[in-house]
């Protein structure tokens, strides 16, 4: 069978460094850090007291109070960024066949805040179950996809992906695949997360996964730096409109990039630790390149998973060297999590956006907070430390990995007729 071509025709972002995709991209180019002391709860007794929160977010500016009350924060973020992407795409909503427009949206956790609040309130009571009727539909992780479809009347394929920190790359890859196979013309995709809460910070702290650099939040997310001490929790959303190429061309859509391939593998090794030889992440990049019909020499930029953890960062770079060989020295590599923190299930979406903007703007966003080289890393690699670099980008690859051993890569290519 012939596969359809898939292009990106709309973007939206709500991130710790910018509340629209353009502000987000500006923040990335400037090397802005989104980390600051946590405002959402009292951190006195917590090991980590900072995070990359979304700033100046007022849901009342986007929807009415009654509607907003029924949405957990992760779904509110989803609605706002999806709306930005739909508007940005200029899709003719009245003329679209709604049966051919779908939504695949990722979230690693779902309504953690709602879950915590409801269970806390139950625990305070006398055991009488008095759960709010909106508890379940606010909490379950699939509801963002449902809400987006209800708002616009999109009746095509609709579900959510849950693969931890790989969830939104998973969503984008699935959306790409459905269009590629001819099962939909347009897909709203991406992901959102809102886990900056007692349970989120406390839970990740218990795993010793978070940075505890409380005296300097803005330098805490430092992928590839010798003194990195864990990831910085982020929150927010990223949205993309994927569209079948002929459909986009026919309506004269502006095309940001083409999605040309991706891959998914599992480590089958450990729930949280990366595979010591990086087997799954090596293979996932190879599979993605193969699906895209590209060779390593075609790739200009790799946006890494690079969360700023001691083991994960090195494992991924070694896998890149294994896959790319000598060409590893010629690509630009960066971890934009140094600026945004780790948005968990929304990470893949905002990082795909970073790749798309790098392609459109010919700029590689930096890995900020580099102070000291790590002896475990090859010093001849270009990890785009501290300052953005100008570079024509034809092909960008984005990696995202999740607890459970889920590995995803997606490849974006400059659009050429």
């Amino acid at each position: 069978m012939t596969f359809k071509r898939v292009v990106v025709t709309g973007l939206g972002a709500l991130t710790p460094i910018g509340n629209t995709y353009q502000e987000y991209w500006k923040g990335l180019k400037e090397g802005k850090s989104g980390a600051a002391p946590i405002t959402k709860f009292d951190t006195t007794l917590f090991k980590t007291k900072f995070a990359c929160e979304v700033k100046n977010f007022e849901i009342g500016n986007f929807m009415d109070r009654k509607e907003a009350r029924k949405l957990d924060l992760f779904a509110q973020y989803a609605m706002v960024s999806a709306d930005e992407a739909v508007k940005d795409s200029n899709l003719p909503l009245q003329e679209l066949n709604p049966d051919r427009v779908g939504v695949i949206w990722g979230s690693g956790i779902g309504g953690l805040i709602t879950f915590s609040e409801e269970v806390k309130s139950f625990a305070k009571g006398d055991g009488t179950p008095r759960f709010n009727p909106f508890f379940i539909p606010k909490m379950i992780a699939d509801l963002s996809a449902g809400h987006i479809s209800i708002k616009y009347g999109f009746r095509g394929p609709n579900f959510s992906t849950v693969s931890a920190c790989a969830s939104s790359t998973n969503a984008i890859y699935d959306a790409f695949t459905y269009i590629r196979l001819g099962k939909a013309d347009v897909m709203v995709t991406g992901g959102s997360e809102a886990a900056v809460a007692e349970a989120g910070v406390g839970g990740f702290n218990a795993m010793k996964a978070l940075s505890e650099r409380n005296d300097s939040p803005e330098t805490a997310s430092r992928p590839y730096d010798k003194d990195r001490d864990g990831f910085v929790l982020g929150e927010g959303a990223g949205a993309l409109i994927l569209e079948e190429y002929e459909h986009a061309k026919k309506r004269g859509a502006k095309i940001y990039a083409e999605v040309v391939g991706g891959g998914m593998t599992a480590d089958a090794y450990h729930i949280t630790a990366p595979h010591p030889e990086g087997l799954g992440i090596t293979r996932v990049m190879q599979i993605a390149l193969e699906e895209a019909g590209l060779t390593v020499a075609d790739v200009d930029y790799i946006n890494t998973h690079g969360t700023s953890t001691p083991l994960g960062d090195i494992g991924e770079i070694k896998a890149i060297q294994r896959v790319f060989g000598e060409h590893a020295y010629k690509v630009n590599i960066s971890s934009t999590k140094s600026m945004t923190g780790h948005l968990l299930g929304a990470a893949g979406a905002i990082e795909a956006l970073a790749c798309i903007m790098a392609i459109n703007d010919s700029v590689i966003p930096p890995t900020i907070n580099h102070f000291t080289d790590d002896d475990g890393l090859d010093p001849n690699l270009n990890l785009t430390f501290n300052i953005a670099q100008k570079r024509e980008v034809n092909v960008a690859l984005s990696n995202t990995f999740g607890f459970g051993g889920h590995n995803f890569s997606i490849i974006l290519k400059k659009y050429k007729g």
Binding site: R65, R69, R130, N132, P133
Partner: protein, 79 residues
């Protein structure tokens, strides 16, 4: 208007996001004030919480308008 009626109206305005002028005694939660089945359950729970009572399901089913809520609560709320 009784204190109870005042509180009931406030809860309805808050939970359903409607204007005070719409909250007339005859107004039906579902037909006039845009509530769905989950909103209605939430309203009843909010009344239970505010007035510290328990409203059995068979009685809750008969509370469909603002006026019915006010009169039920005026009769049953703990003083």
């Amino acid at each position: 208007m009784s204190e109870i009626a005042q509180k009931v109206k406030q809860i309805i305005i808050e939970k359903l996001g409607v204007e005070e002028s719409e909250v007339t005694p005859e107004a039906s939660f579902t037909n006039d004030l845009g509530a769905d089945s989950l909103d209605t359950v939430e309203l009843i729970m909010e009344f239970e919480k505010e007035f510290n009572i328990s409203i059995p399901d068979d009685q809750a089913e008969n509370i469909a308008t603002v006026g019915q809520a006010i009169s039920y609560l005026e009769q049953n709320a703990k003083k």
